[in-house]
Subunit: 145 residues, 12 copies
């Protein structure tokens, strides 16, 4: 059974509390539980990590190089500023799906560009918590095109 | 049973023939057949339209205002240039999911910006033909967040 | 009696229905009726055309080269993207007045620039449906300055 | 009977003398006389002011807050540089119509942007002296849309 | 005998009538006749098409994928705005030569960039109607370098 | 018999040796021989010069003011940086055709702009060595349009 | 006892009346009274001036060169456009504190840059009327760092 | 008694040692002691934290959501690059005052823009260590305007 | 005897006092005395005006239209921001020479562009007070080239 | 014997494993061993540190202020985004040499600018692991020029 | 008697022949003769050099370091592109006056910026051949301010 | 024994004389002597050339294609403007190391970009004359990585 890392970055620990009108009312724990269940259904073991520290996120990506076949990443604000995290993802051999809860293209201009996007295989934004589930389905489906 | 319009723009009639290494080897007809099947499973009636003419696409969006609850749109190159199509989507009351077969963020700079993206609710790119299916799932799942 | 073409572009067929708070509650048919009446008063025969197709609009401008002395044009979203339509207007010998229902300068940046504006003799924006009537008056008044 | 301020900025006192091929051969006094007459016809009392001093123009706008229901403004070169005048207009509660004698969009790039335009309700350019009259008609017609 | 498509876009049906000082006094029909003759001389069958509709032009390119070995394209104003037409050309396997009647580099800045140019094999501008003939010669000469 | 200067700039002396996949396998001497022959056929005397020195190229253009009726110029990298050479061409009364062996629009962005292009009458790029021959034909054909 | 000039620019005479939700409900006179009182407490004599005329503001700065040890300036919209006022401040030897009532960084982009800011010693924005009091405290506290 | 977090970012632990001509000779500990004293006077309990780690600063902001009514933040170089920290501040309900010791507008261009500024209520720069005290006074004074 | 207006803008009344290392130690009165003397020598009557008010400067240019054959202008900071003053100069029929005491191209970027420069016939910068004298010589010498 | 800190940032722990075609096949440990040996030869004690955490890197620079005379830094992706790390280096009194393994100027545009470069004394890029050794030699050689 | 170098760059050997409406009808030899005469009057020995070769111009500046006290330079098109010539001027200890015959600020945008201008002490443009004489007067007058 | 060309461009003949505080007090001859000695030590024959003429530098690179295995280039100001020299280097098959004496990233913005850098294998800046020696060591060390 393939393993997948679901990596959440800064402020996503506040999901369900922070601006629920924008980010939804579901907590990260609840989302992670759903992903575990869906993963099981799709034949994927799901490892979930969240950190507000860029360095920890990079360490997690490095660790995933050893034992994960795919990676779902929502780096929060770091998506728009962290070349270092993007470089870590470049060193990851498996498939990568970037997720944003909100439709970043309908928000402030500084959210329109993600350093991670050109490194990822797919990018999903605006689907809310469902986005993580769609990302799992994408990883489960295998190579594109 | 809710109806959904799946709208494909210029050059997508060539799917399966054109640069299969980039866009995949599946024809548009095959994709549309899969969407009909998945729609049935999700309780959605799927209407598929493709045109190389911007005006026809706008007319289709106008028609969908009467009888569709959601819209999946892959406008091809028009995504990056057509304000008129984006304005037509602004006049559509239901949910909208933009789809790109390829990860546009890993391609030429002129593909990084879509006039449709800020009008859509969600944007999925880089999932290949599977992207249309994930879009249907998004529409079926109801409102965000 | 001089003839004038009033040309409306994409999405303007939705006038009265689409975002009435922004574009007004009057239908295009009602506006065109008013223009016919005002035209008669000013000694102008008014021909009205609307299309969502850039090519049709260009064809209409070409036709007007034969039998119209003036042109009122609201190209909707094409104003901001269509060099081809602007080139068609460059080939029109009579006076041209561009109209926008809303004050485009108070909206999104991509609406601030019109490819048609430098080709037109006058540009009126933000007057709502009344703008078309003022445009007729401008055409009826003859040359500037 | 509602009162309207027609405010002209720097260099407009030279109308009729300065580059008549560009700005027309009619003097400002003659234009103001026409506006008084048309205003009477439309039920508007027209107060005309011109100054080459930004500060005086701002003072006039402040005064108009007390006793005018509408404002026509052609700020000349200040339109492109004066945020202070735009801020004064922001503090005016009535309707505002910006006028330019020439089609600024067909001239030098620095004339394409007006700080006043996003504060105004409507913007008319390229109609020559007639533009002031169309502006009065716009103010007389009441709210948009 | 190889077949070549000569594709003309918006406003080129006006050749000979529109601004002859800029675009020349020869009609499109006359140019096409010359091209047929030169083609015969060079061993090329020349198919000529003109449309003011972007969609029709794309359809023509798609059709040419079946039976043409080369393509001469003058897309008029669409050269500067149509990513969709450029994408259609990307799907064409034969050689492509873009032609502009005028030297676009000596005109307005928005004419300096063509979306088609990086897709074409060669670009000829400023040669007037002769440019089409030179383009035929280029296609007849075979591969570069 | 009219005389024409064919002027080649920096690095074009390496033709045939340097990156033949990009610039072709034909030497400059061979190209110049072909041009002499074609010139004879077209009634043009062809003078060929090459230098890696901007100053020498300018001197050659000055000399051509005395005895040449036309000029073909491929300035290599200087096309993108030399205003001084462009000014020299401005002082040349005859017709000028700029040539690039490769399609510069499909290469690095700094090659997209040529200081010489707006001074030239025509610009041909991407035709390989054949481009020089087409340029001769253009000069032989007389004035545009 | 040191003297300090508190200089307010265009539209600040409207404080308390204009958009109180944005600028507060306190009049300029009331603010100036508070500043006189606080000045006395801090050992500063406070001279207050307001004008809508850039020239008058410059004259006031020139006068303050003779008899003031510090300067508090809120130039309103002129902060973003007046190089002349900034140059006047450059000629003032004492300490300068720029004040904005609102947080200009959370407003329109043209308010993000102040020509006065690089000339001032300190810049306070978003504190409302309290900002003037904090500025007095800064001037009273002497040199930085 | 309300609690306030005073949060200092990278390199501010060096205060008093690093470039004293620029940042002053007072240590961070001395500043924090003064703030505690002033806080007591103003009825505020002051909690001081410093870290060179972006992640720790975000964690501190998250913690302050539970028990602080206001926040003073000097994020050092992170002010100009950390969208993640700005997002953390967006999730803080109380009032926020950004402080810079130096006048960033008189320094390198990359210091002119702060990602935190549009999230803060007020921004104070160039006041040296006194700036923290003024920030406390701002927080103590309650809501603006 | 021809009359010439020497017009000085904001802050130039401080010449000799303000930053003498940058602007020189000579007062404006002394400069004007020298210009009167030199003017007499060159057969020019020199009228000198200085104001810190843009409106007054514009009024002076308007007055000069009646009785001056040439104009020397140093608009101080207004050179970089006042389109209105530039427009006034456009309405002046005689020759215009812009003067800057310092070499503006060696100073801050916002001083590199002058709105007046493209309207002037000549621009002299960096000559210190001597620049005014050279400007008089230029006006006395008659038309260029 | 002088001490030197060799500081490596995010992802450099993967040296030898990650994209060896780009970054080389030598591990960081092997490089550090070589540097220790070369340092001994040059009379330098070499302390090596690597971290994926910006905060840790800043802490290391702070520590080096106490006991190191020179600093070699390869900050990986942080070079392009971390103003905070650059500020830490500004507070370091000794000589600094920035190293990049690859020639960043031949890679993506976002790698062309380093926030550290203007703070460093020297910058070496594209030398692969040898670059660290050249950097040691530079530090050993003493002051420039 | 001090010596001054008057250095003219590319295409200035054509003065009097090239576009006399723009550059005047006086030859360079005639100008140089005038300068010798005026120099004698002012106590300056004038050495004149012209070259179309950037390298020769640099060599001349190097030579002038040995025996010239001042330098007048009109580098033609090289002013806008040659950093190498500007660097040569940086190594010249005497005073430098840049001259342009035409008012470059009223011409194409690429002529608005000169690499030499920030290195020069003064810049004179638009005075035609008289500009060289004014430049000599500036050099003769000694130091600014 | 492999041969290496050390190529110096404009103004580097002044080394030791020009701004020694910036470029050092060592003459180019002394540097070249050192390089010959180090080359001998490393098994490299070093050929040194300097010219202020771009064309000569290009000729030298062409010659080096015949008999040199590596190239050290410091093109002075041409690094920032000469695409022609960069193209010459593109035609050189051996390894290339660009050198700048100063840290160009800490100087004027126009020195931050080098046209040669993306063509070189390595770039060393800020090491003073030692940089040439490090460059020799790089070339002697063989291929990267």
């Amino acid at each position: 059974m393939a393993r997948v890392l679901v990596l959440n970055g800064p402020n996503l620990n506040l999901l369900g509390e922070r601006e629920p009108g924008l980010y939804g009312a579901v907590s990260l724990a609840a989302i992670e539980a759903r992903l575990a269940a869906l993963g099981a259904e799709l034949g994927l073991e799901v490892r979930c990590r969240q950190s507000n520290h860029e360095g920890v996120l990079i360490d997690e990506v490095h660790a995933a190089r050893q034992d994960c076949a795919g990676l779902v990443v929502n780096a929060g604000g770091l998506a728009h500023s962290s070349i270092a995290l993007a470089d870590a993802l470049r060193a990851f051999a498996g498939r990568i799906c970037e997720v944003h809860l909100t439709n970043v293209h309908a928000r402030e201009p500084f959210r329109h560009h993600s350093h991670l996007a050109p490194v990822a295989d797919a990018v999903l934004c605006g689907c809310g918590p469902l986005g993580y589930e769609l990302a799992l389905r994408f990883l489960a489906a295998g190579a594109t095109p």
